[in-house]
C-alpha cells in the first residue's frame, strides 16, 4: 500500500528565498508525526507541498500515492491551515455541514461539534467567534469528513488550556483509531504529547527524524547558570553533560538536557555551587544545539 505522504528531494523556492531545501520524507498509514521547528523553518511550506497547495520547484510530492491535488487523495484528508478563513455569515453548524458534504463518508454534524467542543456554539455565526473558538471550528472542519489522514498546521495557536487539552484528546482518539496524523508545532511538549515520531526542520532541511525520547535526549532543553568557588577547571567543565554558552570567571552558563546530572557531578566533586538557576531553554536555543550537533557530526 502506498504511503500517505511522500516527499522526494522536494525543494521550494519563493523568489530569492528557498523555504524548503531538499526534504525526503515518507509517512506511512497510522503514523503520528509532529513537524517541529522554529518560525520560518519550512514547516508550513512542507505541509503545503504534501497537500498540493504549493508546487515543488523540484522534486516530487505524493499523497496516498497520487498527485496531491487528485480528488481521490483529497477525499481522504482533513486539513487545518494557518491564516485561512471561512465565510462570516454561516453558522458553525451550517459551515460544518457544508464541509461534510465535500467528503464521501462524513461524521454526523453533532458528533463533529462535540469532538471540537462547539456544541453550544452551533447556532453562532462564524464571524462572531473568538480566536480560540475559531481555531476549534477549523479543527471541526478538518475532522468532519472522517478523514484517514489529518494535517494540522499549528493547531493549538490561540487556544486556551482547556480547549487545547480537548483537542489533544481528540487527536489521540483519532490516532488510536489508526488514522495518520501530521501536525506542525513549535512547542516541543506538544509534539512530545501527541507524536510517536518527531521530524525537526530548520532552514528548510530535516535535521532530525526520530521518536520523541531520542529527540528530547538530543535537544539540550535546560539552561543552567551558577557560580562556583573555586572557578571550574577546564577538565571538570568538559566532564559535564552540557554545552558551554558563556564563562565569565566563576560564573558559567550551560545548556544541558540533563541538568540533574550536571549538579550531581559537581556535588560529587565537592564543588560549591551558588546562585544556581535552571530555566527551560527556548526552542531557538534548543535548535541551536541540535544544529551544532549536526555540524559537529558531519
Amino acid at each position: 500500500m502506498a504511503p500517505v505522504v511522500e516527499l522526494v528531494a522536494a525543494r521550494k523556492r519563493f523568489g530569492n528565498v528557498e523555504a524548503v531545501r531538499g526534504v525526503d520524507l515518507t509517512i506511512e498509514p497510522g503514523e503520528v508525526v509532529a513537524m517541529l521547528g522554529p518560525n520560518g523553518a519550512g514547516k508550513t511550506t512542507s505541509i503545503s507541498l504534501m497537500l498540493g497547495l504549493r508546487q515543488p520547484t523540484s522534486g516530487v510530492a505524493r499523497l496516498f500515492g497520487l498527485p496531491p491535488d487528485d480528488r481521490r487523495a483529497r477525499s481522504r484528508c482533513g486539513v487545518m491551515l494557518q491564516e485561512s478563513g471561512v465565510t462570516a455569515v454561516l453558522t458553525v453548524a451550517e459551515i460544518v455541514d457544508l464541509f461534510r458534504g465535500y467528503y464521501p463518508a462524513p461524521l454526523p454534524t453533532e458528533r463533529v461539534l462535540a469532538l471540537a467542543g462547539l456544541t453550544d456554539k452551533a447556532g453562532i455565526f462564524t464571524g462572531r467567534l473568538s480566536g480560540g473558538e475559531r481555531q476549534r471550528l477549523y479543527f471541526a472542519l478538518a475532522i468532519c469528513g472522517d478523514p484517514e489522514a489529518l494535517f494540522l498546521d499549528e493547531p493549538s495557536v490561540g487556544m486556551d488550556v482547556t480547549a487545547r487539552r480537548g483537542m489533544v484528546e481528540t487527536i489521540r482518539a483519532f490516532a488510536a483509531a489508526g488514522k495518520t496524523i501530521v501536525l506542525t508545532t513549535h512547542y516541543l511538549d506538544e509534539a512530545d504529547q501527541l507524536a510517536r515520531r518527531i521530524v525537526v526542520i530548520d532552514h528548510g532541511v530535516v535535521i532530525a527524524d526520530a521518536p520523541p525520547l531520542q529527540i528530547k535526549a538530543r535537544v539540550a532543553s535546560k539552561r543552567v547558570s551558577f557560580s562556583t568557588t573555586p572557578p571550574l577547571t577546564d577538565e571538570l567543565l568538559a566532564a559535564l553533560p552540557a554545552r558551554v554558552l558563556e564563562r565569565d570567571g566563576a560564573r558559567v552558563r550551560l545548556l544541558s538536557g540533563e541538568p540533574e546530572r550536571v549538579l550531581q557531578i559537581l556535588f560529587e566533586r565537592g564543588v560549591r555551587v551558588h546562585e544556581l538557576e535552571v530555566v527551560g531553554a527556548d526552542l531557538e536555543e534548543a535548535f541551536v544545539s541540535l544544529t551544532r550537533g549536526r555540524e559537529a557530526a558531519s
Binding site: 497520487l66 483529497r74 478563513g85 465565510t87 462570516a88 455569515v89 454561516l90 451550517e94
Partner: protein, 267 residues
C-alpha cells in the same frame, strides 16, 4: 470513529460533481441572502429606480405604439442583471480573497471549478429573482401589460447575454482588493449603464454620450431586451458580436489576474 486505514484508493469514491454543485450553490445562495449590501443593491435598488424613472411614464406609448413602461422595465432589467453579475463576482470574489476563504477550500476535495460554477448559478438565481421583482412591480404597480411570452423572452435574453458582466465581475474581483473592488465596480458599472440609456432614453442624453453609447457592452446588452419588445434596434447579430467581443476581452484580463493570484497563492 471508524478505522478506515486499510481502504484501497480505488474504494474511495469522491462525492459526485452534481451533488457538490447543488450543495455549494445552496450554501452560496444562503450566504448572499445574508449580506444586506448585496440584496439591497441588486434586488431593491432596480425596483426603486423603476419607481422613480419608470412609473411616471408607465402608461405612455411611443409613436409606433410600443409601451414606454415596458421599455423602461427592460432597461432596468438589463441594469439589474448586469449589476448582480458585476457586484456578486466583483465584490464577492475580492472579499473571499481578502479573507483567504479560497485557501482552506483548496485543501478540500471541492474542485475549484465547482466552486466557480456554484457562484455563476447563484448569480443567475438572483438575477431571476431580481427580474421577477422588477417585472412584477411594473405589472402590478405600473399596470404595464405584455404577453407572458414577451416577458419570458426579455428575461431569457438578459440571462443569456450576461456573460460579459460575469467576466467583468471576475476581472474586478481578482484584480482589486476588497477595499477597492466596490468602488471600482460602481465606477465602472454605473457610468456604463447611464451612458447606454438604461436610466434615461438616449435621445435625452448629451450628444457625446449618444456617440459613445454604441461602443459600450451595456448598450448592446439592453438592445437584446428592447428588441424582444419589438423596438427598432440594430441587428441582433451585431449586438451579440459586440457582447462576445467584450466577453473575450474581460475574460482574457480576468484569467490573467486569476493566474497571477494562483501563482502567488498556490504556485
Amino acid at each position: 470513529m471508524s478505522s478506515s486505514v486499510t481502504i484501497p484508493i480505488a474504494a474511495v469514491t469522491p462525492v459526485p460533481f452534481a451533488r457538490l454543485l447543488l450543495r455549494q450553490t445552496l450554501a452560496e445562495i444562503r450566504i448572499r441572502r445574508r449580506i444586506p449590501a448585496f440584496s439591497v443593491v441588486n434586488l431593491a435598488l432596480p425596483v426603486v429606480f423603476y419607481a422613480f424613472f419608470g412609473l411616471p411614464v408607465a402608461q405612455r406609448f411611443f409613436a409606433d405604439g410600443r409601451s414606454v413602461g415596458a421599455h423602461v422595465l427592460a432597461s432596468f432589467g438589463a441594469y439589474a442583471v448586469g449589476s448582480v453579475m458585476v457586484y456578486a463576482f466583483g465584490i464577492g470574489v475580492a472579499n473571499e480573497r481578502a479573507m483567504r476563504i479560497d485557501l482552506l477550500l483548496r485543501a478540500t476535495p471541492l474542485p475549484p471549478a465547482v466552486h466557480l460554477l456554484a457562484k455563476i448559478v447563484t448569480a443567475l438565481v438572483y438575477s431571476c429573482i431580481s427580474l421577477a421583482l422588477l417585472i412584477g412591480f411594473g405589472v402590478l404597480v405600473g399596470g404595464v401589460r405584455q404577453p407572458p411570452g414577451v416577458w419570458l423572452s426579455v428575461a431569457l435574453r438578459l440571462l443569456g447575454g450576461s456573460l460579459p458582466f460575469i467576466a467583468l465581475g471576475f476581472l474586478i474581483g481578482y484584480r482589486y482588493g476588497s477595499n477597492a473592488a466596490p468602488a471600482v465596480a460602481n465606477l465602472v458599472y454605473l457610468p456604463l449603464s447611464f451612458a447606454s440609456g438604461l436610466f434615461m432614453p438616449l435621445d435625452q442624453l448629451p450628444g457625446f454620450v449618444r456617440a459613445i453609447a454604441p461602443w459600450l457592452p451595456t448598450y448592446h446588452y439592453a438592445q437584446l431586451a428592447w428588441n424582444a419588445l419589438g423596438a427598432p434596434t440594430e441587428r441582433m447579430g451585431i449586438s451579440v458580436l459586440w457582447l462576445a467581443g467584450y466577453t473575450a476581452i474581460f475574460l482574457t484580463l480576468a484569467l490573467r489576474a486569476y493566474r497571477r493570484e494562483e501563482d502567488r497563492k498556490f504556485g
